[in-house]
Subunit: 353 residues, 2 copies
């Protein structure tokens, strides 16, 4: 998540919760051995430096709905941040990415170590992925652990557990559908693209954190449902915008090449749209081809602009952003929360305009 | 775990708990799509057909210490069984194994599907591993979910959570050290081999399930500590015996080739022992070599016998089994539990004699 306007109180408490968790874990790991300690340090580095988008959602909902125990809510925020780490570490394994935010990720670090130990490139590649599997498992399981630290009545705790569970269930489904659709040479329908965006992004980044903050603050069911609706549409808008940036974005700003997604043939609203137009014939052989050159990518981008796919996607992101705003206008949303969340939607859409 | 003599009551309740969990999860997954439903079916198949060793440990400790709510304890048993599924699914990803118990595992199934969709062998291989990463994540996170279902006072719940956490923390450490030692051309010390056995096997298969059952039954700290000691040594004995079977076992009985471990160069007490002897020169180039033939394997096995490595390992397993028995003889262990656990140790050692 690149742009953030919401600045709730309590983010330092989230940092403290994460720091405490990693200090404890590293001390435990050191008792097993220096190698395991180093794995935990690597995982900590993967968690550092993020924008803390999900904790911000948790803390915003919690405070704007009258919650006062910031340290307690911060454990919920930290749990979602650790879930985020788990998902990106395993997503990188699945995408065979060895770099994130311009620096080696878990897999990148251990691939390098294995190469240094004289392993074949293929063997080192797999050692890197394996270390990523293990590190992601640690982050995932500890998201549940951090949530257990939250002080709350049993019914609230159960509810928080259900929200985290739904986030994991949906994110895994989204990852899996991504793989499944990549096996199908036909481009998925726009509906399928939107469904995947909801599963992969909305649930764990928007719906879950907002609802968890609200539940902990004691919000009523109608408001919790509205926050779910808001989160769903805001997340879809975010994902469509993110896919646009993945193809047209400035490489320096996004920290990744704006070319990988095309070469991978990543299923996006852009490709879904253009695949139903005659221009598709000119680019279908290039998209998803491992040998794609920079010039090929420029050509594909040109077609995506000329066919109207770019405008279509950017309008679609704006449309979901507008829907997200409508949910905020419901009477059940207190004005403080409304004021906190409107800028989130603006930020999502501004990224692509 | 191959041989089982303990037959506590309540195993049907464990089956019911697992069945209920998978029915609920498949119904949820079906609402997302048929592909995700099929992934859950595959995960269910990976969980079916096991010997339920860990649930047996949970239920034995619970009942022999006076626990009466079998349905409640069964949720703990089911949680450990799901953790076991998670660990074997991810272990297979790390070992690049596509078959388990003679049938395709998660990765095997999805590799075949990807090949059928026209993917390159390398691409299909990675699709298989990716599906394994996702399926293992679902099993891992839901082990925590099943534990949340247990009815118990807050202090007991926290303790159960700590035990599950320790199992995950130790198993991940064991997997990671396995990778780390495989990068080192030198064979690890026997001490390191025993440490890895404890981390990979004792904690999640013996110590954790026994202690969890005891905690739920309200056992006192001294008994819980003794069960930990017992579990540690019984698990080490089991792992050393299992490594022996991996090299000398009957393929039909173990369901895997008794050759893969040698070709992979799996670090075992056998290799640790022989690597300090002059015979090592004759086989060091063969062990861990991808091109190892059946005749090479026979030659290595002969050296392992003649050098005394086989006897040494089998004595070592017996020694840890004897230590495990000593812990049972403590006065704090009620005789019913002692009678239930002695046969477990016998079964572990009998496998290799």
């Amino acid at each position: 998540m690149d742009t953030l306007l919401v600045e709730p109180a309590g983010l330092e408490q989230v940092e403290s919760a994460l720091e405490r968790f990693f200090e404890e874990s590293k001390a435990r790991a050191a008792r097993i051995g220096p190698g395991y300690h180093a794995l935990w340090e690597t995982l900590e580095r993967c968690t550092a430096g993020g924008k803390r988008f999900r904790p911000r959602m948790v803390m915003s909902a919690y405070q704007m709905l009258g919650g006062r125990d910031l340290a307690n809510a911060a454990e919920v925020g930290a749990a979602f941040e650790l879930l985020h780490t788990a998902l990106i570490v395993h997503d990188d394994v699945i995408d065979r990415d060895f770099v994130r935010r311009g620096i080696p990720n878990v897999s990148g670090r251990y691939r390098t170590i294995a190469e240094g130990a004289g392993m074949s490139p293929e063997g080192a590649h797999h050692v890197g992925l394996s270390a990523g599997v293990i590190a992601g498992d640690l982050a995932l399981s500890n998201a549940y652990r951090l949530l257990e630290r939250v002080e709350a009545p049993p019914a609230v705790r159960r509810r928080l557990g259900d929200i985290l569970d739904e986030a994991v269930f949906a994110s895994a489904a989204g990852e899996f559908l991504d793989i499944e659709t990549s096996l199908d040479p036909a481009m998925p329908s726009l509906e399928a693209i939107v469904d995947m965006a909801r599963l992969k992004t909305s649930v764990y980044s928007f719906e879950g954190p907002l609802q968890a903050g609200a539940v902990l603050a004691g919000a009523d069911e109608e408001l919790i449902a509205r926050l779910g609706d808001f989160g769903r549409d805001a997340g879809i808008a975010y994902q469509i915008a993110d896919d646009l940036l993945g193809v047209f974005g400035n490489e320096t700003r996004t920290g990744k090449t704006n070319w990988g997604d095309l070469r991978e043939g990543k299923r996006t609203a852009l490709l879904s749209y253009v695949s139903a137009r005659p221009e598709w014939e000119d680019i279908s052989a290039l998209v998803g081809s491992p040998g794609m050159s920079a010039a090929d990518a420029d050509f594909v981008r040109r077609i995506l602009v000329d066919s109207g796919a770019k405008d279509y996607s950017s309008d679609l992101a704006a449309e979901y952003a507008a829907r997200a705003r409508t949910h905020l206008d419901s009477d059940v949303v207190p004005s403080a929360l409304r004021s906190a969340l409107h800028p989130v939607v603006t930020a999502v859409v501004d990224r692509v305009h």
